[in-house]
Structure formats: C-alpha cells, structure tokens
Amino acid sequence: MTYGPDVIVARLRAALDAFEHLAGGLGTALLALAALAWLLGTAALCLVGVGVLLLPTALRLVRAVADRERARLSRWGREIVSPEPLPARPRAALADPAVRRELGWLVVHATLGFLLGATALTIPITALHDISLPLWWQLVSPEPAVVAQQFYAATDWPGAFVACLIGLAELTIGVLLMPAMARLQAWVGIRLLSPDRGTDLAMRVAQLTATRAAALDAHAVELRRIERSLHDGTQNRLVAVNVLIGAARRALARDPADSKEFLDRAQDAAEQALAELRGVVRSILPPVLADRSLPDALSGLAAACPVSCHLDAEMPDRCAVSVEATAYFVVAEALTNIARHSGADNAAVRLHRREDRLCLEIRDDGVGGASSTSGSGLTGIRQRVEAHDGLFALTSPVGGPTTLTVSLPCGL
C-alpha cells in the first residue's frame, strides 16, 4: 500500500475535520456532564421527597442539552428532528421512550463522549511536546524530560530523538484514529437522539404536511401578489388609457386641439402599463433564469442594486427551476430590503452548493435590527424558503451587521 501526497492531504483534512467535531463534541459533553450532575443531585433529593418538584426542571435541562447536540449533529450530517415536547407530568415524561433514550445518551456522552473529546484535544498537544523534545530537552536536564504520558523518560541525545519518533508516531496514530473517534462520539447521539423509526416517519410526515401547507400558502400568497399587481398596476393603467381615449374622441368632435393633451396622457398611461406588465412577468419567473444560469441572473441583480454589492457565486450545475427561482427571489427581495431599510454601504452575496443543498448568504454592513416577523420582505422570504423545505436564518443585531443565510434542497 502506497501513500501518495493526495492521500496524505486527504487524511490530514479528515483528521482536522474530525478534530473540529471532537472539540465541538467536548463542548456538549461538558454540558452533558453538568446536566448529569444536576440530574443526580435531583435524584438524590427525590429520596427525601423535594426532588420530585425539581424533576421537570432537570428534564428540561437534559432536553435543552440534547437539542444542542441534535443541532450540532444536524449541521454535520443528516438532520435530526427534535421529539415531541416534554410531557408536563414527570411520571409521564419518564415513561416517554424519547426521554429515556435522551437520558441514556446523557450518561454515555458525559463519560465516553467527554473522554473521546478530551483525548482528541490532548493528542496534538502531547505530540507537539514530544516531537519538539530535541529542541529543548537540555533546558530541563538533568531532570529527565518525560514523554508519551510518563511512559518514557529521555535523559540524553539518542533518548531525545527516540522521544521525537514517539511524538511522530503519536501524531500519525492520532491522524489515523481521529475520524473513527469522531464517528464514535457522534454515533451515540445519532443512535439515541434520533427519533426511533416509527416516530421518525410519523414526524417526518407531520413536518412534510406542514411544509406542504406552507407551500400551498406561499403559492396562494404569490398568486395574490400577482393579482394585486396586475389589478392595481396594469389594469388601472389600461382603464386610464380607455378613459383618455374616450375623452380625446369627445374633444376631437369639439376642438381637435384639445384632444392632444388627452392623447399624450393616454400614451403615457399605455407606456406605464407596458412597463408594469414587464415587471409583473419578470417577478413570476425571471426570463434570465431560463436563458442563462443562476449566477448570471444574480449578477444582474447585484449590478442593479443601488448599494455596492459583491457577488461570489459558484454553481456549476443547475438546480430544479423552482429552487433557482426561489433563490433568485430571495436575493432580489433581500437586496431590495437592504437598499430600502439598511442604510448599508456594502452588501455581499455568496452562492454555493454543498452536497445536495443550495446555500445562500447575504450580508450587509447596515444598521441591523431586521426581523422576519414584522411583515417586511423578510417574511415573504422565510415563507417561500420554508415552502421549499429550506432553512432560513437571520442574525441582525441592532447596529448591524445583518446576515441572512438560506439553504434549499436542490431537488435534482
């Protein structure tokens, strides 16, 4: 078996990824440890009776920690849906299989998960310590410099180089083992925090039903918007054209000179009708999406935005038409919002594809304080994204900056 440079780079990258996950896992393991201590304390108090009152709080704490781990694991791989809300009565809660599995996870993650995370954190430190030993062992001499977690003591030059080799071996083993450790640490959570198969399907159905309803809602809202813009825009313009032509005919019979003003206005109205009709058609499905690619369409939006907008779009493959149209709509609405409300000088749009999801990030350096619940354009964005089973996240502290992230399943 030979290792080319590519394989080594790939292994290193995998190890680095795994390290990141293990470190993140260590974070939740610490929380799990704290929750476990709390739970055990509550259990001890139960013996004297007071604990029963504290039990719901302890279970809520466990649920909060478990949800954090679910979110962490969802970011990494397949989405893990939260189970039904906790039953109100402690006895019912303890009988709930999901709660029992959470408690099992808590014990394993607070111990094994913690151990794996802590080990992962010490490996690079120990390896660095040992590898660099030849550089500094003399400084601590004549005390023997201890390496490899107390197993070996270097007292002379050959000893120092042996220590260095041990360090290299540790590093290699670490690189090779870390992905497996990360998988093991995550596996417990994936096994015990995912709803069991039956519940999983039932919840998936519930979620799909909700998103389907949202899709139909979004569809109705979209139709309403189109109806409104056709009615209040184009139709009114055409009525005005009709009225003005009628007036011009009357004027023609009276005094032809009078008819000029009516005809001028009629033509203005007709031109406005055409412009508005073009706008409505464009908003339904931008023709540029059909003719060119999504990045091309977005660069058109970025160029038209009054705020200076940097676009970084990487999308080699096409997605389903409705997904691309939604992405286009999201960027168009977000940039309109930025131009109208944010007071920003700069905006940036990033589009890329991660596995089977289309990811969008839209940032601006404006005043912040945006909300997706106050009936702004952001509400429309959220609804349309959720209708496509996508994820919507908005961070907009008062004072800025505002970041909107959206990811959509590509559908192809």
Binding site: D232, V239, A240, N242, V243, L244, G246, R250, F262
Partner: protein, 219 residues
C-alpha cells in the same frame, strides 16, 4: 354639477377629472382614499360622487363602505361606484338601501364617454345606473323561473335595460323602437311577473331588482 372623485390610482383620478372638466362639469375635489373622501363630502357637499371600490388600506371594498356612509350622512348625495370587475356582493351591499341616486358601473364603461355621462346625469337626477354586466349576471344566476320564462325575447331585453336604470325614451332608442312599443312591453312584463305597475324609473328599477334577487334567493 359639483362632483367629488375618490380613486386611489393617480393617473385614472387625473384622467377622470380632466374628462369631466372638459365636459363642463365642476370637479370640486379629488381624493385617494375613503377617509379623505368622507371629509371632502362633508366639506364640499357635492351633488354627486364618483367612487372606486378598491382603495387603501385593504384594497377590498372600502369604496362601497364609504359610499354607504356618505349617503347616510348626506341622503341626497348621488353616488356612482366604479369597479374593476363585477362583484355581485358589492352591488347587493350598495343597493340594500334602495336604488335612487345610485350607480354601479365597470370602470371600462367610462371610455364610452357619452354613455358614462348619461349614466352620471341619470344618477344625479335621482335615477339608477347598473352595469349591463351586473344585470346579465343577475338574469343568468336567477334559477329557472316560470314567470320569467313567460317573457318574450324582446321583453327580456326591455327588462334588462330597465334593470340598468334606463328610462322609456332611452330604452326605445337602444332597441330602435317607438316609445309606445316600449310602454306596451313594460306593461306586459309587469303583468307577467305579477308586479304592481310603477311609472317612475327608480321605483321600477327597485321592483325589478327585488324581483330578480328574490327569484335568485328562492331558487
């Protein structure tokens, strides 16, 4: 004739005002929403008002509600409501308090200026103007009614024009017949529908509308 116009679309509002002024009518105020309309009616006490149905803030039936309210405040006010499309419910809401000095027309009718002005004058003079489209819907929606089926084709034409609010002279002109012939048709219609004869145009319209609505409701 002193007129107030309530229409939220700027272009159409200006167009209407221009048209009416060119015809020598006195447009005393033009407004863009229901609240301003009621204020303008209170302030100017006009003879007639032209009101759009859909206005801000909800763009649903603000114009109808405002028209009804304006007539409550000022019973003699003639109101001509303009609508982008026919909605039976709007017409029903509008005509619950009678049909004198009331009109309900599609916006596109304004383009036929002679007929529009005729309708406006008719409403201002105490009559009624109902869009042919509305009448047609009423006649079609009306479930099969034996008495209605007893009418001849020509009598049905006369009935429709009566429902629009036209007087004998105008009906005769439209159908290219003599006044006498129209008179005969109307007597025959009232007899066949078992309605008490009524001479004044607005009473006639009310009777006809009530008849069509009743037939519709009874099914």
């Amino acid at each position: 004739m002193r007129i107030v116009i309530a229409e939220d679309d700027l272009l159409l509002r200006e167009g209407l005002a221009l048209l009416l002024k060119a015809e020598g009518l006195d447009v005393v105020s033009t407004v863009a929403n229901a609240a301003d309309f009621l204020a303008a009616v209170d302030e100017h006490v006009p003879d007639a008002a032209i009101v759009d149905v859909r206005m801000p803030p909800t763009h649903t039936d603000e114009g109808i509600v405002a028209a009804v309210e304006a007539r409550r405040r000022q019973p003699g006010l003639a109101v001509l409501v303009l609508s982008a499309y026919v909605e039976q419910a709007f017409a029903t809401d509008l005509f619950t308090t009678g049909s004198a000095r009331l009109g309900y027309l599609l916006k596109e009718r304004v383009g036929r200026v002679e007929e529009f002005l005729d309708a406006l004058r008719r409403v201002a003079a105490g009559g009624t103007a109902i869009d042919p489209e509305v009448v047609a819907q009423m006649m079609v929606r009306t479930r099969p009614d034996q008495r209605l089926e007893r009418l001849s084709a020509r009598e049905r034409d006369v009935l429709a024009l009566m429902a629009e609010g036209l007087g004998n002279g105008a009906i005769a002109e439209r159908l290219v017949v003599t006044d006498g012939a129209v008179h005969k048709h109307i007597r025959s219609i009232f007899a066949k529908l078992d309605l008490a004869p009524a001479d004044r145009a607005d009473r006639r319209v009310t009777a006809v509308l009530r008849y069509l609505k009743d037939v519709d409701r009874k099914g």
